[in-house]
Amino acid sequence: MTDATASGVPAGKHTSGSLLEQSPRTKRRNASEARFRFYGMAAVGIGLVFLVLLLIAIVRNGVPAYTQTFLSLPIELKAEALDKNGNRDLEDIRKVSTFGYNPLLDEALLRVVADNGIESDYSGADLRKMISSSAAAQVRDYVLTHPAQIGETVEFRVLASSRVDGYLKGRVLREDLERDKNLDAAHLDIIDVLKDAGAVTRTFNWAFIFGADASESRPEQAGIGVSMLGSLFMMIVVLVLSLPIGVAASIYLEEFAPKNRWTDLIEVNISNLAAVPSIVFGILGLAVFIQFMHLPQSAPLVGGLVLTLMTLPTIIISTRASLKSVPPSIRDAALGVGASKMQSVFHHVLPLAMPGILTGTIIGLAQALGETAPLLLIGMVGYIASNYPDGVASGFLDPNSAMPAQIYEWAKRADPAYYERAWGGIIILLLFLMTMNIIAVILRRRFERRW
């Protein structure tokens, strides 16, 4: 395509003729160049189109996860239901389970419906389908922390059920509800009225960012916060292990190791390791760390160890590349004034290679942050439904999940409300990755080569 000599234009014509007009050969060459430019632009264009489509899809599907529908509900905390003995003893109050709170919720719902002039033959239990089943627990928690409020009427903002939430977000349509056992169209009429009355509101959902996972039937309550913590613990393990090990290994291999068959073999194997599918590291981690070393399952420490194995080759390769890119004249200069090998490396070569090393490390970490497959194998998909600090997500050895694993879990669940949350989680994950990549770019810019 680029080689015009292959075409059958007779040779030896270019010497004669005016410079002001293009010879057929030149025309052909120019045309082929123009074609190639077009192909290139088309390729870039196609890439951009896919990128834009991806971004649109993520934003459209994910952004709704960041708002949540709440119902303002004045609930009378009846003493005869919550504290039968009337002595405000916390032990007694605690004996009332969330089931004991349901009648209070029913009553409050019936009253709200009646107050807004809605005619409905729904019982309280029917109306309760409009709100999240977390509401009873929310009220109970409040009562346990504020026992003095028993007997009063307190205004609660309880989560609406995921169907109601989906209806207000346009995800659930009236037609859909014909086959739905949880909610009827009549519920939606009530919601419409309550929304106009201001009792049903949609606000930003901090609980999605900072909260814990929730059960299959309560997608409205689920958040990614705890798995973010799990990811953070893992990244700490990865950074603490892979940076020193990786940098030490690269410095030794690049600057000190003799060049022989063994180091060649090691070099080839490091490159190969970088291409090993991550799930292989997962099953290796399962066999070595969990089955052999008996480290706990679902622990960020194990996840971090597995991801360290995965990240090491990336860090070693990028560190070696940046060590290689330091001009040998700098090493000569240091050796020439009588520096030892180690002094020349640590005083001169390493500082110059630092931006490259840090960039490689951050890229490696970003890769590890988004890795899912090995985590599934070592059980880093713990179901943690309680928040820090009373939850179990508090340390390196406690069960936890990680962001990508959590997203995978959500996408797997049946309720479309979870699908929405999976997209929302993707946005958070991408924000983290983007931040890390931007830091890498800034580091590169800041420590631009200075020789």
Binding site: S329, L335, W451
Partner: protein, 265 residues
């Protein structure tokens, strides 16, 4: 020995600083230096000349064991510095290089300040006891490098920001700062323009008072201008070694004559 009886006696009475005996250098299977014998005098500028690939730089790098950094390089024979074999097992090349400083073909200042460039050597060798000491060494070295007046107001500016000629003089000052006894220069002017070259050559002439200077050069004019002794290398052999004036006016070996008159190389 190709050393011929010298015509001038002016420089021959100086002490022998480096004595090389039957030096062979191999790069893998390549025999790069063949049986070189040479005696380099103290307080003298000795020039190594010869066509490209003749081994003059290789031989120069043997004198402070810079070739150690090349895995496949092997050196045989004896090189004595003040009578001590520098390839003896007990010799630490780091200590040797503090005694035998080196200036490279391309100016290679550290990407640090001018001050730190000079101070680095004294610091790692512990030559300065205090900050004031170090300041003094830096000033002295920069003066020796004939660059003090140009940089004294910006000692903390990066050394890489200087012009090529200034950078090379900075590198010479850096080499001088560790108080070496021998100064090796590997084509120090090949990356410089004629004016900077003139300044560096002038500097080399001054350095002769205190050091034994060995300079590798492509330029025969330069060798004639700065050196008192000249060694001509050809295909790994030391063809002729003697007084510069004698080599250039009255060479003994026909190959030397061919090279000097431009017929080979």
């Amino acid at each position: 020995m190709y050393d011929s009886p010298s015509l001038e006696t002016k420089v021959t009475d100086k002490a022998i600083k480096i004595a090389a005996q039957n030096v062979q250098v191999f790069y893998g299977d390549t025999h790069a230096i063949k049986d070189v014998n040479v005696q380099i005098q103290d307080k003298t500028v000795t020039a190594f000349i010869g066509p490209s690939g003749c081994g003059k730089s290789t031989f120069l790098r043997c004198l402070n064991r810079m070739n150690d950094t090349i895995d496949i390089c092997r050196v045989e024979g004896d090189i004595l510095l003040d009578g001590e074999d520098i390839y003896d097992k007990r010799v630490d090349p780091v200590q040797l290089r503090a005694k035998v400083g080196m200036v490279f073909q391309k100016p290679n200042p550290f990407p640090k300040s001018i001050y730190d460039n000079i101070a680095y050597g004294p610091r790692i060798h512990g030559l300065a006891k205090s900050k004031a000491d170090l300041d003094e060494i830096v000033e002295k070295s920069l003066r020796r490098g004939a660059i003090w007046d140009e940089v004294k107001d910006r000692l903390h500016a990066p050394g890489t920001g200087l012009s090529g000629g200034q950078q090379q003089r900075l590198c010479i000052a850096r080499a001088v700062a560790t108080e070496p006894e021998v100064l090796l220069m590997d084509e120090p002017c090949s990356a410089l323009d004629p004016i900077a070259t003139g300044q560096v050559e002038e500097l080399i002439d001054e350095l002769r008072d205190s050091y034994s200077v060995v300079i590798v050069t492509h330029s025969m004019q330069q060798a004639a201008r700065v050196s008192q002794k000249t060694a001509f290398f050809h295909l790994g052999n030391l063809v002729e070694y003697g007084e510069t004036s004698q080599i250039f006016t009255n060479p003994v070996d026909s190959r030397t004559e061919s090279y000097i008159t431009g017929r080979i190389g």
